[in-house]
């Protein structure tokens, strides 16, 4: 029997009251792969990540981590099982210092491993090291994204969910972050689920892309195929 995918979602359906935001979405995410999830505003990308991460209740369908059903597991427990979520806007705690935010991400790990996790985040993002004692509220947009990613990585996740890490960043910084994600995915052997508006940038570093429209998967293919399909590009990816 083949090994089950690290993370698999089956028929995931989620609502906001009477509004259906996701209907019957199925996807599989593998270790060492970056999986781009694309789509227009309101397509359901954020809802998808929130449902996987446990922040949004699932109306139907399942979330399977290494074959185990985690659909009803609370958020904080999923984190302990290896799912890290960088929510839309980063989800950092601006009242805490930079170092405290990262330490928070590493807290549930063994006491002896925590200092190394902090040092690793500062190695990865030197600007954060310089600002370690400052409140996170004083960071720039790009620095906040770094902190959000650093905090998520401090938990040593197996699955990294990222909701528009390029939001509001300069193209050059966006490109750096995309390349960084690629590198992290390869070196830390994670599955990265990358939600992006910036389809071209995301596909450039992805192994696979899925396109959502009105809560449904309308395409799932290798990046090259998606980029080659003019109709798809015009209709859903906006370039």
């Amino acid at each position: 029997m083949p090994e089950p995918a690290l993370l698999r979602i089956e028929g995931l359906t989620a609502d906001y009251g009477a509004v259906r935001a996701l209907s019957g979405v199925s996807m599989a995410f593998e270790k060492g792969r970056v999986h781009a999830v694309l789509g227009a505003n309101g397509a359901g990308k954020t809802t998808l990540l929130r449902a996987i991460g446990g922040l949004h209740p699932v109306a139907a369908g399942r979330v399977l981590l290494r074959g185990d059903d985690v659909t009803r597991m609370p958020v904080e427990q999923r984190v302990r099982h290896g799912i890290a979520h960088v929510p839309e806007g980063g989800g950092i705690i601006v009242e805490l210092t930079v170092a405290e935010n990262i330490r928070l991400g590493a807290l549930w790990r063994r006491r002896s491993e925590r200092p190394a996790a902090l040092a690793a985040a500062f190695d990865l993002f030197p600007p954060l090291a310089e600002r370690r004692a400052r409140p996170a509220a004083t960071l720039s947009g790009g620095e906040r994204q770094m902190l959000a990613i650093g905090r998520a990585l401090a938990a040593r996740p197996e699955v990294l969910l990222l909701d528009e890490p390029s939001l509001g960043l300069a193209p050059r910084v966006t490109r750096q972050i995309m390349l960084l994600l690629r590198r992290l995915c390869d070196s830390a052997d994670m599955a990265v689920v990358l939600v992006e508006q910036n389809a071209r940038g995301a596909l450039a570093v992805s192994d696979r892309g899925s396109v959502l429209a009105q809560g449904e998967v309308v395409a799932a293919a290798a990046p090259g195929e998606l980029l080659a399909d003019d109709r798809m590009r015009h209709a859903y990816l906006g370039f």
Binding site: P87, G91, V94, E95, L104
Partner: protein, 283 residues
């Protein structure tokens, strides 16, 4: 001059009690936006338990420890059983629930221990200027405040509690069990409330003995800024001193009026309290 020193020392000791009560309110308010009006009743039950334990064992300090422990447990239970389910819908309903709990617990105290005042003296001397009991009030509240500060500032538990208080969702995403942190906060706050009550109650305990003290405590919290633990402590000392001077120089019957005057004066100048953080809780 001598009289001024007396009034200052006395006011500081009373202020320590108000500060502790204010701190217990602020810890909960910061995390949940709920003003816990049940605090005096929780503290009252804790004192009655201390009274019973001390009476049965003949050991005051055993009762004292029992009061703190009872405070801890009752705070945790209140959050788990009463507050959590309603708070998710609105903090205001949670405030109403604390008001209901206040009445129920005060009534229950009267039923269990009767409405008659029972003698429950300090174990140490409480006469004269700056008595041993005054010193004990200042030292114990100071120690409690320092411990709370150290807990929040320097321990992983404190970091989790701050994260949960500031941004519950972001804290959950970072792996913090937010519900457990709220329970812990209520337990801690309620234990501090029990400490305040143990200092405030003697020499007689009765169901309404904490009413005035609670009014002064909540004044201290509001004056200091409901969002700021240091403000609560400073507010407590301020109210303690203010009331002591007014009672001493103008007559004790004017103390409640002075309390109201302090409240109005501070709030009209600084609506969020004297020590409110400049950037309280952005979205």
């Amino acid at each position: 001059m001598d009289r001024f020193v007396d009034l200052t020392l006395n006011g500081a000791a009373n202020g320590a009690v108000y500060a502790a009560l204010a701190l217990s309110l602020v810890i909960i308010y910061q995390a949940t936006r709920v003003v816990n009006f049940a605090q005096p009743a929780l503290a009252l039950i804790a004192v009655y338990i201390a009274y019973s334990v001390s009476g049965l064992t003949g050991r005051y300090w055993l009762g004292f420890a029992a009061a703190l422990l009872a405070g801890l447990l009752m705070g945790a239970l209140t959050e788990r059983l009463l507050i959590r389910s309603v708070h998710d819908r609105s903090p205001l309903s949670a405030v109403i629930v604390t008001l209901g709990l206040l009445l129920v617990l005060q009534g229950a105290a009267g039923m269990i221990w009767t409405n008659e005042p029972h003698s429950f003296p300090y174990p140490m001397d409480f006469r004269g200027r700056f008595s041993a009991s005054d010193a004990f009030a200042l030292v114990s509240v100071g120690t409690a405040a320092a411990l709370v500060f150290a807990l929040y500032r320097f321990t992983p538990l404190g970091l989790r509690m701050r994260a949960a208080a500031h941004r519950p969702e972001a804290a959950r995403v970072a792996g913090v069990r937010v519900g457990l942190m709220l329970t812990t906060g209520w337990a801690l706050a309620s234990a501090i409330g029990a400490l305040a009550a143990m200092l405030a109650v003697p020499p007689f305990v009765s169901p309404n003995v904490l009413d005035a003290v609670f009014v002064y405590g909540i004044t201290a919290a509001v004056v200091g800024g409901l969002d700021n633990p240091f403000g609560a402590l400073a507010g407590g000392v301020l109210v303690g001193l203010g009331l002591s001077y007014v009672s001493g120089y103008a007559g004790p019957e004017l103390a409640p009026l002075a309390c109201l005057a302090i409240l109005v004066a501070v709030l009209s100048a600084r609506p969020a309290g004297l020590f409110a953080a400049p950037s309280a809780r952005k979205v």
